[in-house]
Amino acid sequence: MTDTIDVRALHKRYGHSVALHELDLQVRPGTVFGLIGPNGAGKTTTLRTLLDIIRPTSGTVRVLGEQPRRGGAALRRRVGYVPGELHLEGRVSGHRLLAFYAEVSGATGEAAAILGAARELADRLGVDLNRPVRTLSKGNKQKVGLIQAFMHRPELLILDEPTSGLDPLVQREFLTMVREAREAGQTVLLSSHVLSEIQQTADEVAVLAAGRIVARGDVASLRLGSMRHVHVLIGEGDVADVRAAFERIPGVEGLEIGLRAGDAVQLSATIEGAIDPFVKSLARYEVRELTVEEPDLEESVLRLYGDSDRAAAEHATRRSRRRGE
């Protein structure tokens, strides 16, 4: 079966700056693929190339088996897209806006059915389609953006930061929509800088940084969530004693211990891998406060960069193998 999205050696240059370096990306049919990376990594550039909004400087792009430029409007009818920066302006109501897109992207005679689906989605997400779109809040505009992408049940959904501006409840509903789309056989390519969102939905992930893919694989293998920052306030303890207790635990790095008001001891550390040994050691003390934080994406990507020598080596062998075939 051919890949739904097949990008090879995609290069995009704007003047002297290079937005994408030799990007390879394959998305299998019926899967959810997550593209993560910090702002400016090239996520939006990649997604816009798939829709022929921008054109590659070099390399090949195939979407649903066709080149976006040659496939034109007919190909884009098979794709639903939420742009990274959604601007909805004008006096038109959400309903009329969606009716327009249902007309241009739906099949003949399907407009009514598509609008029915749109109303259903609007109910689920909780947005009033009778109001002029410009009067909607950012989150509600984003809901309309999601509806216009999902309503005609396209074979492929390309979603650029789809949950930005949505409250947590709606984000959950959105994740359900993505899972339903996959169950219905649709393919989803999702970009985000929110790790948890990708972890909850994606089958496969690629991490993009500075226009290159620095890591890829299934979510678990990337071990993106394996690092934690912990901050603890321990009541009554000896600094040296506490240090000795935690220093020896495998995976604990950057241990900082200081005295606080009274006899309290403040402890901060980064834990790589299992958190259990740390928690077990902690149990001996009186814990007054405890926070465990996930690292932000920037940090995770930087860590992956640390592994990028290995990633580059893998990349090179894969390429030479492909050339050898």
Partner: protein, 265 residues
């Protein structure tokens, strides 16, 4: 498959209120100026006043013919206020393509089942249809006041004058559209559209000042429309064909140019 001309229909639906406003504006100008003709343009005092003004000024404003109904209608409306209003409308509507790209609407539209050329062509069609409406309405209003204001115009020549005015505006809109299609920037679209209109007006004004500068008329779209008085002598068919022809060529070029480049994000 989508219905016929979806982008055009959406544009018309979204702009009918504003079009109504423009129509009222043109009606206001016409109903303000034309009824004054019997007491103003055709009066002896006016003739004396005009005789006392510098000849260059009178020529530039087209007031040398103001004592006839045709000359008065051209000097006040077709060559001045009507030209101004339709030019502003043409620049605004011609820039809407670049505007859509700047505000992100084009990205969403063109991610759907709409082709790039189709997008440019239907945007142009919407601008042209609205300009034609304004020209048609102006012609009807002039015709309606022809008798009451004692203008003594030939009805067929009113059609010619409106066609010349709309052709001139269409050329301006086409220039704005092409600049927008090429750059994706509204400021360029507006600048080029307005620039072409102003330049055309200046060139014809200079051409009127001396025999040596008359060749400038050949470069001025304004001259193509109005050098031969469309109301007094009948519209210059060559000029009419030229302005409409260039307007259409600019639209075609816009459709091609928009296809070949990246959209701005």
């Amino acid at each position: 498959m989508s219905g016929i001309l979806p982008v055009f229909r959406r544009s018309m639906h979204e702009s009918w209120r504003s079009l109504l406003g423009w129509t009222i504006g043109i009606a206001a100008v016409l109903f303000l100026y034309l009824p004054l003709y019997p007491s103003f343009g055709a009066s002896d005092e006016m003739e004396q006043l005009i005789d006392s003004l510098p000849k260059q000024l009178v020529d530039t404003l087209g007031y040398n013919q103001i004592a006839s109904g045709a000359g008065y209608t051209e000097a006040t409306f077709y060559g001045l206020m009507g030209f101004l209003l339709l030019t502003i409308a043409a620049v605004l509507w011609g820039s809407s393509l670049a505007g859509a790209e700047e505000n992100g609407r084009a990205e969403l539209d063109l991610a759907h089942g709409i082709g790039r050329s189709q997008y440019a062509l239907e945007t142009a069609l919407s601008a042209f249809v609205r300009l034609v409406w304004l020209g048609l309405f102006a012609g009807l209003a002039v015709w309606a006041m022809n008798g009451p204001a004692e203008l003594e115009l030939e009805p067929l020549r009113i059609v010619g004058a409106s066609a010349a005015l709309v052709g001139l505006a269409a050329l301006t809109a086409g220039a704005a559209l092409l600049a927008g299609a090429a750059t994706g920037r509204r400021i360029w679209a507006t600048g080029v559209g307005a620039g072409i209109a102003v330049l055309g007006y200046i060139l014809q004004a200079l051409a009127k000042q001396s025999e040596d500068l008359q060749w400038l008329d050949a470069l001025s779209p304004y001259s193509w429309a109005f050098r031969q008085s469309p109301l007094a002598d009948g519209v210059d068919v060559g000029g009419l064909v030229l302005s409409w022809g260039i307007a259409l060529a600019l639209v075609m070029a816009s459709a091609l140019v928009l296809r070949v480049r990246d959209l701005r994000g």
